[in-house]
Subunit: 231 residues, 2 copies
């Protein structure tokens, strides 16, 4: 019998809200929190626009602008410090329209699928373009998926001894982008075998779905088209 | 209660035989198997010495020579083809002295520790300097550790469509070296939290042991000094 392993994209498939990414909101809030220590940001893009609340203008610089925001807010601290920052944010930040914690705004049909699969002996994984360390903080509480079953994008980290204490410093350098053709690679490196079920909702999931559902053996792939905005 | 996660180095801690590494023996046998397609190897190091059975001379080139042997024998095929090659080899190659399959030459006291920990609710992982895809093939059968609980060194891989079939090609490029200061980083990226127990046997395990056994909480680290050769 093939091993019962199922992988789920996280943006959209598991969150109810699209296309404003949860992790980008986190980064924006972090820029605001860090701004007092960076007076130069008042006149430096993409930070200047972000601080004025103009997200669209801030992201006009495309991928380099996004990378600058991500690296500024996700690197330069230890892994444990970052965990705590994410934990504090997810337990307090609320969606502007619903007033709910983001961690309560999960796409209910997918949670039911997760529960159903686990009740039938499946090991369930997240395979997301989002940051692995970001998701690990709340994956168990929100999806019932433990940190070791989260696959995602990552920055490099470096082992250091600081005053006799070993720690991992988060570096401002990309390690792996778990999106598009990267998803099957990330899944392979993390799980070491091909899943038999995959759930996605965007072009970034195409290769994961192709790879999971190629023969041999019984396989299942689902592509979700959200219509939440219409409801 | 801290999560019950334990990590084990694989060379030495889990294998009985040292310091001739299992995976290097695999690579040597692969060079011999591939030699008929590479007549140029007869006069090209490190292959020429390897083919004459002179391993010491072949490895005299140090890390570049080892990398050349590893890349030649571990890349240029799909992940599924590589799995099959490793499976064929581990089910037939025997130790020259004992006449046993290598997969039967496992360090028994460590197997007992693995069993004991699992019986007490621990999730057990391999954290090895060896190749992750190499170990994944036999980790479940040999150690009772499924592929998704294996952490190791890796090469890069690339998603491709070949005649309509999606596959992962193994590239001749290092992705990650899971040794020394790399071990805590590999464990963090794979598990997403710090283990509470670690077992090692060489200098390559030092940082993993330091990181695992730093406060807070109850923690256990074991460093094994083999004396098999004397028995």
């Amino acid at each position: 019998m093939p091993e019962r392993i199922a992988v789920f994209d996280n943006d959209g498939t598991l969150w109810a809200e699209q296309p404003m990414y949860f992790q980008l909101l986190f980064a924006v809030d972090r820029v605001k929190a860090l701004a007092p220590q960076h007076p130069e940001w008042a006149s430096q893009e993409p930070f200047a626009s972000l601080l004025k609340g103009n997200l669209k203008e801030a992201l006009a610089g495309g991928e380099p602008a996004i990378m600058q925001i991500v690296m500024t807010t996700h690197a330069g601290m230890t892994t444990e410090e970052f965990d705590q920052i994410v934990r504090d944010w997810t337990s307090s930040a609320k969606h502007p329209k619903t007033g709910q914690l983001y961690t309560k705004m999960v796409y209910q049909p997918m949670l039911e699928v997760l529960t159903y699969l686990r009740a039938n002996g499946f090991k369930t994984y997240i395979a997301s373009g989002g940051g692995i360390d970001f998701m690990c903080v709340f994956s168990e509480e929100v999806y019932g998926i433990p940190p070791e079953q989260v696959i995602g994008s990552s920055g490099k980290a470096k082992f250091e001894m600081r005053d006799g204490t070993p720690l991992l410093m988060r570096l401002a350098e990309i390690n792996f982008i778990d999106d598009k053709a990267g998803k099957p690679v990330g899944i392979h490196q993390h799980i070491g075998r091909r899943p038999i079920a995959a759930f996605g909702n965007s072009d970034g999931d195409l290769q994961m779905l192709q790879w999971t559902c190629s023969p041999p053996g019984p396989r299942f792939c689902l592509f979700v088209r959200h219509t939440d905005a219409d409801r």
